[in-house]
Every structure is written in C-alpha cells, then in structure tokens.
Symmetry: C2
Subunit: 362 residues, 2 copies
C-alpha cells in the first residue's frame, strides 16, 4: 500500500504526501541510509528527533547478514532495528555488483560466492521474497546497474534484463501492505532510458526509481539524464533519484520533478567533520573553531546546536571521541530535513525558483 497525493507544483518541482503502512511522509523527502540495519552512529530515537521520517536498508545485505531467518524471528526489520517510521529496502543489485563476492550478472539473476565459496544466485523472485520477509514499506525491484561508462550494447542488455526482472519481481510479489518501486536504467543513452521507462510504466508500479546515475559520470551527464527521464514517469507516482546526494544536487533535481532522495552524504560527511548549513559547508576541525562558542549552525534547532559549542565539538573531533561523529550526524540529518522542508514550502508558495537561486549562490 502506497498512496501518493500531489498537493502543489511550481514549474516541474512537486510537493506531495506519500502514505505507507508505517505512516505518511511529506515530499520532497530525504531518507537516511541504514544499510545494515542502523543509521551509522545513531539510535532510532535520535534519527526520529532530527525529523527524518524514512530510512532505507539494503535487502541483499540483510539477506546475507544476519540472514532472513533472524530478521523473521524478530518479525521484520522494523522490529529488528526498532524503527517505527517508514522503511524502504533497496534490492541490493547495485551493491552486489560493487562487492568482492560478486561473480557476474546472468539472465536469471546475480551470481555471487556464498560464505563457503559456493556459487549462489540471487534472482528477482528471491529479491521479492526477501523484501516481503523483511517487511519494509517499500521494496525496490532487482535491477542491473552497469558502470557509468558502459557501452551502448552493454547498457541495452542491462535495460532488457531490468525490464524482464521487474516483471518477474512483480509476479513473485503478493504483499499488499508493501509498495513496489521499479528502477529506470539506461545510463546516458536517451533511447534506452526511454524504453526502460515506457516498459516499466506499462507495468504500473507504486513508484519509480531512477538508477544508474551519480556513479561516476559527469554532473552534466547526470543532470541531463534526469531531465530527460523524469517527464517519462507518470505524474501521479512518486519519483525517486537513488543515491543522491548533496544539497545542491538535490535542489536542482527537485526542480526537474524528483520527489524522493536517499544518500549517505550527510552521515558520511559528519564522520569526517563536515558540517552542512544553509550557507554552505565547513569542516569543524579547522583551527578557527578552536575558541568558537557558537553552535554548529546559527538558528538550527537540533540537539547538537541546542547544547554544544563548536569549540567542544571540535575538541571531541581532535581527540577522536566517537561522540563527535554522533553530534555531527545528528546536525547533518536535521539540516537535510530543514532543507527539504524549506524547499517544500517554497513549492507550495510558488517561490521555488527563488529558493533555488539562493542556494545556487553559495
């Protein structure tokens, strides 16, 4: 069950509400990444307090470790990790390919080495069964994501597989309370993206991911592909740009009609000392913050900004105290939510272009 109501448009930018089995979320929305069943360094309560209403975990990772039987014993991932908000699961196609144990993609699925070295295969059907057992609110179909510089021939093959796998996934899926999003592949080949989108839209999914981007191609290529792909997707379904990213990329693609985002960007940057703010980013480890009594960002209402000085957070970083990473992760996730909220309001008020210009000036 996924419902999506579009409540405002400003140019191509959209504001909506997405309803799932674990509550509703306002779009455009940004999900925090909980690949292995935890947002790095944070408790679910802390994540919730940042205003983050949705997380995304990796189904294939959890399928391998700790394994489906253990998560089923807990009654699903929500209970396993004690998250009562909206939860997406990524099929893991992208991650499988990028990990050491991957062998190759065949027409049937992804071949990989099991724990004892044996050859195993992860099929679209297995991916559907896995995600149903995990009990996420939204499952992503298994897709094939070729490298950004793959040849047209290779990408065509991947698109054909992605379409066929989407059919097989849908066939195997019968859990009503779980929505299913398909993923448009096609790399930088406009015709292939178009074909992929058309075929997937015919199958009528609850939403559409745009995949195979933000993986090494130029920003220009990425933006062009999004601009071309978004209009191919049905107006009344949410559009999800997988794995993006930075505030500047997010705002630009919201302007092209994207509704849903996820990225490790805020939390990974936090662990390296980078603070996100409405006026750009900076590294807290710099000497200039040594005696700075101010909060990480003036006007921010997060736990960290309400309680600690830059001088203290910098001190913790310099002393390798893990609490430093936590405090920054909290701030950066809260920043993303404040950022998304501001954009959403600007869309509703017809001032999106204004906000976009403001952020571009940074």
């Amino acid at each position: 069950m996924v419902e999506f109501d579009l409540i405002a448009k400003d140019g191509n930018a959209r504001a909506g509400i997405m309803k799932t089995a674990h509550g509703k979320i306002e779009t455009p929305m940004f999900m925090a990444v909980a690949t292995k069943g935890a947002v790095k360094t944070l408790s679910p309560e802390e994540v919730r307090e940042t205003g983050t209403g949705a997380l995304i975990s990796n189904a294939f990772h959890l399928y391998l470790k700790p394994g489906l039987d253990i998560i089923e014993m807990h009654g699903g991932v929500h209970n396993f990790m004690r998250w009562n908000g909206v939860l997406f699961t990524d099929s893991g196609g992208f991650q499988v390919i990028r990990q050491g144990f991957f062998i190759k993609v065949t027409d049937e699925g992804m071949k990989y080495h099991g724990e004892n070295g044996e050859v195993k295969i992860y099929t679209p059907e297995e991916s559907a069964i896995t995600q149903m057992k995990l009990g996420s609110d939204i499952a992503m179909v298994l897709d094939e994501c070729p490298p950004h510089d793959a040849s047209e021939k290779r990408v065509r093959k991947a698109v054909e597989r992605t379409i066929r796998w989407a059919e097989e996934f849908k066939e195997a899926h019968d859990k009503k309370e779980q929505g299913v999003f398909a993923i448009v592949q096609g790399s930088r080949y406009e015709g292939l993206r178009e074909k992929c989108a058309d075929e997937l839209v015919k199958m009528d999914f609850d939403g559409y991911g745009i995949g195979g981007l933000s993986i090494g191609e130029s920003r220009e290529e990425m933006m062009k592909a999004i601009e071309k792909t978004a209009p191919l997707l049905p107006e009344e379904r949410p559009r999800y740009f997988m794995g993006l990213g930075s505030p500047e990329d997010i705002i630009e693609t919201i302007g092209m009609g994207i509704d849903v985002f996820d990225s490790a960007f805020p939390t990974r940057n936090a662990r390296h000392g980078t603070v996100l703010t409405m006026k750009g980013r900076y590294n807290i480890k710099k000497a200039e913050f040594k005696t700075d009594m101010g909060p990480l960002e003036e006007g921010c209402d997060c736990y960290t900004c309400r309680n600690y000085s830059r001088a203290y957070v910098r001190h913790l970083f310099k002393e390798n105290e893990m609490l430093a990473m936590r405090l920054l992760s909290i701030h950066n996730l809260r920043f993303m939510q404040r950022f998304m909220k501001r954009i959403r309001e600007s869309i509703i008020e017809g001032r999106f272009k204004e906000i976009m210009r403001e952020f571009k000036g940074l």
Copy 2:
C-alpha cells in the same frame, strides 16, 4: 564543599551519602570515566539515564587540550561537556607519567614537553589553579605515582613528595565550593603507606584517595595494601580507590571500607563486546547469540535491554556499527549502578557478607 554522612556499616563495609556542589550521591558509588570531557561513545543524557551520578575527568589532559582558556570561556567543564551531575577531576599525575611527553618528576613538579618541544613544569600549585578553573566538584591533589615494582628508596621519595605537594596544593587552593581529596601513596611498603596516610590525615582533606595500586602488582598485593590503608583513614571522610575496576575487585574492597570507585572497565569492555551481568560476563560476538532473542541481561532495565535483542546487538558488532559500542556501554554502566545499589542495600540491611559470597561464587 563536600559533606559525607555515614548512614550504615556492616563489618567494614560502609553506606553513606556524599554531598557536593552539584548534588548528592549515595555511596558506595561508581563513577564513569570522562577523561577528555566525554564518556566514550555516550551523550551526557545517556550517562545520566544509566543512573550514573558522577564522572571523573582528567585535569591535566584538559589543561593541555583544549586548554584552560577554552574551558573557562564555557564557564567550566560542566558547561563545556553539558554534564550537570557530580564531577571529579583527577590531577593527572598518574597519566602524565604514562604519556609520551613526560620527562621526569622533580621536587617542584612534573616536567614535560610542551606542544613545541619546550620543557614545561606542572606544579602542585598549577594543578590546584587548573582544577579551580575547571570548576569540578572534587579536585584531586597532584601526587607522584611510582611504578608498582619501584624500590623502597624510590617509593619513599615519592611519598615525601606526595606529602609536600599536598601541602602546596592546599596552600594554593581557595575555592570553597570545590572539595579536595588527597592521595595516599606508598606502593606495597606498609610503613610508607602508613606515614603517607598519617601526614595527609593531619592536613584534614575532604576525602582520601588510595593511589598507586591496580597498576601491575598482583591482586593479592593490591588487596593487602588496601586492607592495611583503609583503617588509617578517618571514619568520617569518603575513601576513594582510584582506577578500580572490575565488579569482583570492587565488592571485595567495599568490604575493606572503600566508598568511591572509578574505572574505564565497563565502557572499555563494552567497546570490545563484553557484557557485564549479575551472573558474570560474556562476549556478545560469540556465535551462540546469533539467534538469541533475549536482552543482554534478563531483568536489566537499561535502554538497550528494554529495546534490543542479543541477536541485533551481535549483528551490529559483527558489522562494525558504532551503535553496538554505544548500546553495550549503556548496559555496562547501568549494570555498575545496579550492582552498587544492590551492595549498598545489603550493607544497610546487614547482609553484605551474603551478597559478597554470592558474587564470589561466580
């Protein structure tokens, strides 16, 4: 200002209440370690929720990093780290000697290399001024702590310095709201410990630390030294065994009349996966916990035990998620408080020996 009321005795074991500028604490008590201005991995709120009412920071460390000026800007360590409970500061004599930049102990103080290689000296007076500026509730005098296997001649020298430095510290100290504890040295030499205790007691401090133990000597030597030293200290002042430790060592020395403890034991063990329980300790990473749906410890009321399964915590450890260290740190600190409370009640009820036997049987 430190007040100490003894409310019950059972054999040599004591139950009391210690009042400081930041509230009162029931003894026997266990402090968590916040050497650099943070309990490793935890927020102050989390520490407080475990029932931990007191922390100890290292004055010399904070004097070097971030430096006194920065902590004074914040109005003291309490504000710097947002801790509103009781705070001890260790003078840092012990740590100075064990760190790379230390040169040698002279009659005036501790010689060490500054940031630019220059030779600096940290005197008892400087230590007193530092701790007054830090604003802790209880300051520890600067002492000299020789290695556990030092010769009698070397230890005699250290005892003489420790006594003289205690005088100099007291002379320089004039902050009423901050209590001052002296530290009894003397290693395994009974006569020297006796001399040190006698001289310090004459100076009338707010409490007495027992130092120079739990640093490499045998458990038997340590226990013998404590047994001999505790009765030399005034009945009406708190006695603090610095740097201890494990539940089994703590309960035994409570039986010898010790009231106050601090150690990185619960938090350091937590970061390595060791779970403390009333029935002994175990490592959560073991395969047997893979499918264990129970809490870390049956009957524990900590955040971790209320919310997560052993299977989940084990999964986080296996995947190197920092949240695992946090969840165990919370449990282990809560365990220490439950443990101390149980001992305290047994003293009040005259059943201390019973409880001691129970824990010895583990």
